[in-house]
């Protein structure tokens, strides 16, 4: 009821004790396209939906390598995300220069969170409109964190942000108990399944998603399109049900019908968007 009166400044409290500008910033994250992350004891996988605005344009980069041992996926205002990635890269490089050692992820995440908090307490600033899924490795193992525009951060076994992320979260909630012991390839498979959930019936191909992996013995790297497509084909999930018996048969009717003609067009569609990097 009072939303419009108390939402002009980030530094104005509402009578109910809320900062509306910060909440609006979190809305911006929900409007961005989906990004998901999941981790085992030794690996973390980030994946995101990358839809180009039109067939003529390239899609926005939503996954950034921050250092050999840290990567980030963003959802929301990608420009804000790019700026924060640059900050993270800078922090990592400075720490590495001084201490010849990788910056522990947990510390980077706290620095990021403190940076975001500053923007919620200055009248001449606005909160960052981007949610960050930070994946990294340090002494104590593999970690996945989520940084909010509010300045909060949480550690997760698996998480999804952005539009239609609830579908992915539902899938992840079903599966997360086996993640700690999963192999790297199983994790990637689960990530692709989760992404497929957010597509709500659209065909999953490597042109609409990006996958990145980091783990013990593997520096942070973004898988190239060919690899992702072959993984999708291998796991037979482009439009079909997952091989593990899923009782929730959402979209099974629609998908089975679209599966046959899709298989034929799969190879050709890899070349569909002319500006794919």
């Amino acid at each position: 009821m009072f939303r419009n009166q108390y939402d002009t400044d980030v530094t104005t409290w509402s009578p109910a004790g809320r900062l509306f500008q910060v909440e609006y910033a979190m809305e911006a994250v929900k409007q961005g396209s989906a990004a998901i992350g999941l981790r085992s004891k030794t690996h973390v996988v980030l994946a995101c939906v990358n839809k180009a605005n039109s067939e003529l344009s390239s899609h926005q980069r939503k996954i950034f390598k921050v250092d050999d041992h840290i990567g980030v996926a963003i959802a929301g205002l990608t420009a804000d995300g790019r700026v924060l990635s640059r900050y993270m890269r800078s922090e990592c490089i400075n720490y590495g220069y001084t201490y010849e050692s990788p910056l522990p992820v947990g510390r980077l995440v706290v620095q990021l969170a403190d940076k975001a908090q500053v923007c919620t307490q200055r009248s001449w600033k606005r909160p960052y409109g981007v949610g960050l899924l930070v994946a990294g490795l340090d002494e104590s193992g593999a970690h996945l964190y989520y940084n909010c525009p509010s300045g909060n951060y949480f550690e997760y076994q698996a998480f999804a942000i952005g539009s239609r992320s609830q579908a992915a979260k539902t899938y992840l909630e079903r599966k997360f108990e086996k993640f700690p012991e999963s192999s790297r390839d199983d994790l990637v498979k689960d990530a692709l399944f989760a992404i497929r959930e957010t597509l709500q019936g659209e065909k999953l191909t490597s042109t609409v998603c990006t996958v990145a992996v980091i783990g013990v013995g593997e520096v942070f790297n973004i898988l190239d399109q060919k690899t992702v497509q072959s993984l999708i084909n291998e796991f037979e999930i482009s439009g079909e049900e997952a091989p593990t018996n899923e009782s929730a048969a959402e979209q099974s009717g629609g998908d089975a019908g679209g599966a046959a003609p899709d298989q034929g067009g799969a190879a050709a569609e890899e070349e569909a968007a002319p500006m794919d990097i």
């Binding site: 220069y97 001084t98 201490y99 050692s101 522990p104 002494e139």
Partner: protein, 266 residues
């Protein structure tokens, strides 16, 4: 403008070196202000109270480090209970030779570093490699400002099973090795270590080897004092021994009846 006056300073110090064989604590400040136009107040141009060599070796379970407890004031051995090996955080040891007050300054920097590291309270901690790298940056930056911390440092430690031993000099030269020494130790101790050091030295063997080096230094380094401490650091923790003295051996046949065969000497 700055560069020419620095050049003048260096040339002037060389001239001074020739006039006085070694800068001594009795070298007055007036002599320098005549040569520099800036009122440089904070520069360590020469050390006053100095410690001599530090030796460090890797052994089977970790690192052993030895140093004597002397603080010399030029040619006078003024202080005989200076602790030149100190703990840094959970995983590292630092030993210093050179200006003692600069070592105390470094310990303050490290104290602050470790404090902030502990304040994160997140299960991560700075190990010897990180401390070594940090000190390299500090020493090199001071050197670039022509205001060095007049020390040679030895950093050793064990973290997650990895043994680490390295050194940094006052101009920021740094390296890692299986055995390290500063000052005279480079000339008198390292040849012994190159011959006798092995990867799998036991604690007793390591101490014996270090004592051999320290004894050699005691005989030949005029700033050495016969009161040493040996520090040990392993994965489990760190101990610094109580100070003790080394046995020295002077019964050489050349010292018995030294004047026999020399006509006219007494």
């Amino acid at each position: 403008m700055m560069r020419t006056s620095f050049a003048a300073l260096i040339i002037a110090s060389c001239i001074l070196m020739r006039a006085f064989v070694k800068p001594s604590p009795l070298h007055t400040l007036e002599m320098d202000t005549l040569l520099t136009s800036e009122g440089d107040s904070q520069r360590t141009q020469y050390p006053y109270v100095t410690g001599t060599s530090v030796i460090g070796i890797k052994y089977k379970d970790g690192i052993l480090m030895a140093a004597d407890m002397g603080g010399s004031y030029g040619s006078t051995i003024r202080y005989k209970s200076v602790e030149r090996i100190k703990q840094v955080g959970k995983h590292s040891l630092i030993g210093a030779s050179g200006e003692i007050s600069d070592f105390q300054e470094i310990l303050k920097y490290l104290d602050e570093l470790i404090l902030h590291d502990n304040m994160w309270d997140d299960g991560n901690s700075l190990g010897p490699k990180e401390v070594h790298s940090y000190l390299t940056r500090v020493m090199y930056n001071r050197r670039n400002k022509f205001d060095p911390l007049w020390n040679s440092l030895v950093i050793g430690g064990v973290k997650n099973g990895h043994k680490y031993l390295g050194s940094v000099s006052m101009i920021g030269v740094n390296f890692e090795d299986d055995h390290i020494a500063t000052g005279f130790g480079n000339h008198l101790a390292r040849p012994l270590l190159r011959e006798e050091w092995r990867e799998d030295l036991s604690f007793e063997e390591g101490v014996k080897l270090l004592e051999k080096c320290m004894r050699n230094l005691l005989y030949r380094d005029r700033s050495a004092v016969n009161k040493i401490q040996i520090a040990k650091i392993t994965e489990e923790g760190l101990t610094v021994s109580q100070p003790y003295s080394l046995k020295t051996f002077w019964i050489f046949s050349a010292f018995q009846n030294p004047t026999v065969g020399a006509e006219g000497s007494w």
